[in-house]
Symmetry: C2
Subunit: 405 residues, 2 copies
């Protein structure tokens, strides 16, 4: 299983950051916990650095995993940070990241958030005419000229995305055809108008479809740039690089994606927009596969012929793994007996969390080696949209610890 | 709309606990917030008191809404509290409730939780042989005789439940056919064996199906009682009373349910088990309809012909309303412009939350009166499985306030 081999193992036990999982559990002091592997995150960044053109910056969308240590690690290894709330902005700035390297996107920014963003000097990716006007007012309140990019809702949709966030009517961004009017208005209102953000969808595993989307994004950016009242200095091409969650998923052909981006950045964007920076914004792709959720077997029971492992974690920490975060069809995330990752499967078991609801299902009829009370069970792909995307207060269990190893 | 009429209105604005919503928003001091109506909760209890037999206790499953003020209110108006974690147990005991009136259910109770429960003197509803043995050990550690009831996985399934939690193989409870063996073992180990808990499913809107399930539950309890080594003093019949969330849902015929329960308790249970208490355990039914989630419009935008209201709340507070908590098909919870509940609808709008994800959808193409930035939008049915069942840390927005009015 590639998932386990990426982390490594020692004496039959999973390792994270080189530490055997039972020792790590002792170090953490309680289960369940999330462990993120520093090496795997940095290897992913290095992979991208080796493939992407120098001129293309890598941004980290910290919503994927806002653990401060993870954000610090990425702040020092990628070029930009994207935030989606005032709290995330503080986490980003606390790393020492230059405000000019921080972008703030998302619909529904409040007046207070806009004022904080203006005061911080980050790039505000405005999502509507109304938000642009409120940003202008925030600049007046704070007495600082707002730095603005326009988030564009493209006039095309991307196929193959796990979540579509562009094309047709959307709550995200300004419809492409309205952008020239908005640029004129924003320029006249005195904001610093840096450029554009186009984000059309997330979790795409098709290099071809991503390449098509990126090419159309470049078409759109170049067309919009003609009407730009100020030199274009910022182009955020979005991201949407998917990761394989399930056995039938094929990993994204990142070489093909990078080759296409190289052609677009070097062949089209740089000549046309020489003053601009270009950024791909990635969240899940940088961290999802570097995380594991570790939970301990509390009960092993047989009910009418079915074996259940009841663990001390559950959907309150890993909602996505339970199939309740946007999935239409529930599939199992990769799961392993963490202290016996080299052992052959010997039984079919259902792994359930400790919540008193049938929704709390972590592994439905999975093949595993024998596990008993006290053993550790690992759920993979827990590095992104895990803890913070889960209902941690549900049923009042203690919050899990996170460690970056 | 019955939802709004239950709360009431004044000068065209929704009221909660008799307080106009805009005044309540000022009192709370920030949006979004949850407001629970004390009167509606007490009216629901009074309705049940008037219909159910005196001999049948009402229990509140505090997982539905563990806000301490709500739990206090119900602790003083119902007969028993059910908890699903050590934290919920503390909330229950903090109300001053007698430990004997508190039951602790749920798979995956840890050794520490079992020791806390034994020390507290609450009734532990054991879910397996293993958990029973660990409860015996907890009693030895604490030096107190455990008070135990056996949660039974029935040998039948209940049709019509939103979530099935009994019948076939289950992580919940002990298979009915194994209960006699477990009773002998538990009795021999010296625990106080009080009786049984049978909970077959939740969110059932059919009085007929509930009546069938209750009759079969009574059959099962009476059959198991024959083998009980100690007098049966506790029978928890479960609950599963549903509430109507959507326009096509028909409210549960509570009179029919109560009449059936009266027949069962007076005609069958009391004569057979004269020393026993009997309890129905309700969560959602007591509180769901008494709560409203109030959020403010931050942006109003038109994208390619569609009107979007972007509000400062979202799925991070009301996951169920976004359709991401176990629903197979997403439907809109009732939604209203809270400051204009008497006004006629005049447009079709989509209400989205402030999170940067298309999952954050609160009202998909709903008919509403005109709402602008600053107006309050209310999402109903927010009294149960709302705040604590939602990923509050997602994207790092501030936690909402809860008020009981």
């Amino acid at each position: 299983m590639t998932t386990i081999s990426a982390f490594g193992d020692a004496d039959g036990a999973l390792t994270v950051g080189g530490v055997p999982i039972d020792r790590l559990a002792h170090r953490v002091g309680s289960t369940p916990f999330f462990a993120y592997d520093r090496r795997l995150i940095l290897e992913r960044v290095a992979l991208l650095r080796g493939l992407l053109p120098d001129r293309l910056s890598i941004g980290y969308a910290i919503k994927a995993n806002p653990m401060p240590a993870v954000v610090h690690l990425l702040a020092s290894s990628v070029d930009a940070l994207d935030v989606a709330s005032a709290h995330e902005m503080r986490v980003a700035l606390d790393t020492g990241a230059e405000p000019a390297r921080v972008s703030f996107a998302g619909p529904g920014k409040t007046d207070s958030e806009l004022e904080q963003a203006v005061a911080a000097g980050v790039t505000i990716e405005v999502e509507s005419f109304g938000e642009t006007r409120r940003t202008v007012r925030a600049g007046e309140v704070v007495g600082v000229r707002p730095r603005v990019a326009i988030r564009v809702n493209p006039d095309f949709a991307v196929r193959g995305s796990g979540m579509r966030m562009g094309g047709g009517p959307q709550q995200f961004g300004v419809d492409a055809e309205q952008v020239p009017d908005l640029m004129r208005e924003a320029d006249a209102a005195g904001v610093e108008l840096l450029g554009f953000h186009v984000f059309a969808g997330s979790q795409n595993l098709s290099a071809d479809l991503l390449a098509q989307a990126q090419a159309r994004t470049v078409d759109l950016v170049l067309a919009l740039s003609v009407d730009a009242p100020q030199p274009v200095r910022y182009v955020n091409l979005g991201g949407g690089f998917g990761v394989p969650y399930f056995p039938q998923d094929k990993a994204l052909d990142i070489e093909a994606v990078a080759a296409n981006l190289t052609d677009l950045v070097e062949g089209r964007l740089t000549p046309a927009l020489p003053e601009s920076s270009f950024v791909v914004e990635l969240g899940r792709y940088l961290v999802a596969e570097a995380g594991v959720y570790v939970t301990r077997v509390v009960d092993r029971k047989v009910s009418r012929g079915s074996v259940y492992l009841v663990v001390d974690g559950g959907m309150h920490h890993q909602l996505a793994a339970s199939g309740n975060l946007g999935q239409v069809i529930r599939r199992n995330y990769p799961v392993a007996v963490a202290t016996a990752v080299s052992a052959e499967p010997e039984e079919t078991v259902t792994v359930v969390g400790c919540l008193c609801t049938p929704l709390d299902l972590l592994g439905d009829r999975v093949e595993l080696p024998r596990a008993d009370v006290g053993d550790l069970v690992a759920i993979f792909h827990a590095g992104a949209y895990g803890l913070t995307a889960s209902p941690t207060a549900f049923l009042g269990h203690p919050a899990p610890i996170e460690v970056l190893v």
